[in-house]
Amino acid sequence: MKNLGTLKVTTPSDREVVLTRVFNAPRRMVYDAITKPELLKRWFGPHGWSLETCEVDLRVGGAWRYMLRGPDGSKMGMSGVYRELSPPDRTVHSERFDDYPGQSIVTCVLTESEGKTTFVATVLYESKIIRDAVVASGMEHGAAESYDRLAGILAS
């Protein structure tokens, strides 16, 4: 449960999770990387998983669908609709996982400074369950340390 890299996770409200990450590249490149299928396929997905299907109808009201394949062959599908596309600094889309109930609205904002891009994704959940999961993880400031210890003890 260490905060690897520079990924920061915060929970500004009841149903929101905010992911913040700085990339060493101009924002037009980051924008391309988060919207173009041929680029998404290169990075999107958990460790060991590959983005097997990536269908993107990149226009407001257009649908997107990803199918990820895991190392054991299992599949994870997710899909949604683009609600706002304002290159190179902002996108809004809905998102749902095939295997989980409920959908979320994801707002991505890119700001550039000195050739680096700060990527901020605000995920607004329909239900509190995953939001609460993030709170419970102790990823918020302050709680992280004690929870880290506990997780370490439980893992041993």
Binding site: R21, M29, A33, G45, P46, I130, A133, R149
Partner: protein, 126 residues
Amino acid sequence: MSPSRLDATFAALADPTRRAILARLAAGEVSVMDLAEPFAMSQPAISKHLKVLEGAGLISRGRAAQRRPCRLEAAPMAQANEFLERYRQFWEASFQRLDVLLDEMQANEAADKKRARKTPLKKETK
């Protein structure tokens, strides 16, 4: 683990006092009285938190009438932890790969610019 069970686990874990109680119990069994001590909280207030933790299956309590020692139940916690780890790992692994991709995109762009500056027929020398 059913979604409602996971929900109960996360709701129980969302409170800092309850997380602190669990951290304390990770070191071993503790009576309610001893648990209440470091928290500047009344025993009934602590008992209320314990009830939530017990309801979520995160702790169990002994039968010894007076002490009723509390014990950590690791399984639901480990499952909740695993669920969160997947969420986190998803983004961490993705972003690390995105770093590599962005480096490559920049290197390609720089190479393209360099090539564009040269006359098309001139062979690239570096």
